[in-house]
Amino acid sequence: MQLRKRNKVNGISLSTSEKVISVISYIFMGLLALCAILPILHVVSKSFSSASAVTSGSVLFWPVKPQFETMKYVLEETPFLNALKNSLLVTGIGTVISMLVTIGTAYPLSKPDFKGRKFFIMAYIVSMVFFGGIVPAYMVVRTLKIIDTYIALILPFFIVHFNMFVVKNYFEGLPESVEESARIDGASDMRILVSIVCPMSKPVLATVAMLYAVNYWNNYFHAMMYTTSTKMQTLQVFIYNTINNTQTLVERLVIGNYTNVSIDGIIAAVVVLSLIPIVALYPFVQRFMVHGITIGSVKG
């Protein structure tokens, strides 16, 4: 329909090759979109389907003999809620801290006449391109005696060099004249940063905050390495352990007399529950991340 409409407007007929390209594009991109969405739909369906339907493999993209027992089991019988709390706290606190540190670092380094600028930038570049390694980093964290604390979960992303450079480059691109007129009015560096530079940089700051939040929320490796107790488990560690320790799940199912709950159902339910925050924030994420790409492609 759309194609025909356009033809009329232009008054030129589409050549065959154009039609073919257009049709292929519609079909191929539609299929790709389905490839991205259907697996998610499948997991959601599984988490609400009866145990027999899940184990017999008859669940496709819609719940079969719907039930809520699996969800109830995950919420009540597993440490899911505790893991969720840990992830929310680490992501929330971590993102705020990281943003403050990132802005505080990017601002001085964005000033061309800042004394010592080259030295500090060099320190950041050096530590970005040369990594001490997993083992030495672990030894530092152990020496600090912060294993199994929130601090150890925040430390690795305290400031992500790449994010800092994105913010710094953006600050550098802001017109100097605005800042200069505020300075003549007697505003301090801090005041200029808070009431002029930051408000002018809202889009890039929102994007970088998003990048930090995704980092904290999704991180598995550091969370696994730096926590030992179940109490400090983050969501990712909890999900990984759930998928890989099905034996304990079986035992608990038998003891708890959950007849309509299956292992694969539990795994699906755990995945689905942890997707909720991401899906809930998706419109927001989408707006700023796509914006961020444009910033990234212009500024690098």
Binding site: A36, S58, K115, M139, F158, N218, F221
Partner: protein, 322 residues
């Protein structure tokens, strides 16, 4: 007023000499702001650099009052652990696995987002395009653990794919433990997670192309394929080159968390990469010195690759990665 002009034009020095002390007095806040970040650099980035000496020592974690103190108290052994590392067959294996897996990923996955972006751009129905675009990059925001959970649901022994195979009278495939398909699984899941996002990156670059170029081409009678070949692709070239350079530059870094989550002992032969081996040896089996030695090897090669990538980037595209 002179001062302002000087600031606006960095080339011209202000007339009144502005000493370091006066500058520090006026702008001490700027230095205070830097402290938290520098604290992090020293603790989490530079202190581990000192920890690299673990590779040249017989490190015992209990030799000192704490793990860092223990480094100083452990005896030097020179290149002993490097000899051990380079003479082991494991080293060659993980090095090859790293190159093969990432090579496959670049070979099979790199061109797809470019094609997708061009196709997406050909879709005239705005609602359809927006919907497709929004859908394809949803997986980008999932962690590797979530992706693992989803694919476990699809490809596990009793997953949807194996159920279908069984229904068709075929043998079930153990995607997570069959050494013949595991690398394919890594490449496929990487594609599932990343293609959509990379497509959006290329799409952003396409939108930046001057539309009058297409206008002119149309007037000259150029067909769609011609336009794609002569306008879209050249317009995308800098982005393509940049992405490829970044991919190659970070070849040792990427894929670590994915493999750590997906693999298990049955597929170590085909999936164990440098970083996973460092982790398993260095922390899992407490062979700290060997883990540090391999980690150092990894860091040095990564350093050369990244600095090399940046040099190429500067030469070709006149921009720096950082």
């Amino acid at each position: 007023m002179k001062n302002i002009t000087a600031r606006l034009r960095p080339g011209i020095k202000p007339r009144k000499p502005y000493g370091l002390l006066a500058y520090l007095r006026d702008h001490y806040l700027l230095y205070l702001m830097l402290i938290p970040g520098l604290f992090f650099l020293i603790v989490y980035k530079f202190l581990p650099l000192y920890g690299i000496t673990i590779a040249f020592k017989d490190y015992s974690i209990f030799a000192g009052s704490n793990p860092i103190d223990a480094i100083a108290k452990s005896p030097w052994v020179g290149f002993k652990h490097f000899d051990r590392l380079f003479s082991s067959s494991q080293f060659v294996k993980v090095l090859l696995n790293t190159l093969i897996i990432n090579g496959y990923k670049i070979l099979f996955l790199f061109p797809i987002p470019i094609i997708c972006a061009i196709m997406l751009n050909e879709i005239r129905n705005v609602a359809y395009r927006k919907l497709a675009q929004t859908a394809i990059y949803v997986p980008y925001f999932f962690s590797w653990v979530i992706v693992f959970g989803i694919f476990y649901s699809l490809l596990g022994t009793y997953g949807i794919v194996n159920s279908a195979l069984a229904a068709l009278g075929q043998e079930r495939i153990s995607f997570f433990s069959d050494t013949n398909v595991f690398r394919g699984l890594l490449v496929f899941t990487e594609g599932w997670k990343e293609i959509g996002w990379n497509t959006v990156i290329y799409l952003a670059a396409i939108t930046a192309i001057d539309p009058t170029l297409y206008e002119a081409a149309r007037v000259d009678g150029a067909g769609k394929l011609r336009q794609i070949w002569n306008i879209t692709l050249p317009g995308l070239a800098p982005t393509i080159v940049l992405m490829l350079i970044l991919k190659v530059g970070y070849i040792l870094e990427t894929g670590f968390e994915q493999i750590l989550v997906f693999y298990n002992a049955t597929v170590y032969d085909v999936a164990d990469v440098i970083q996973t081996y460092v982790y398993r040896m260095g922390l899992g089996q407490a062979d700290f010195s060997l883990g540090t030695a391999l980690g150092l090897f990894n860091s040095v090669v990564a350093f050369i690759l990244i600095v090399g990538a940046n040099t190429v980037c500067k030469k070709l595209l006149h921009r720096s990665i950082w």
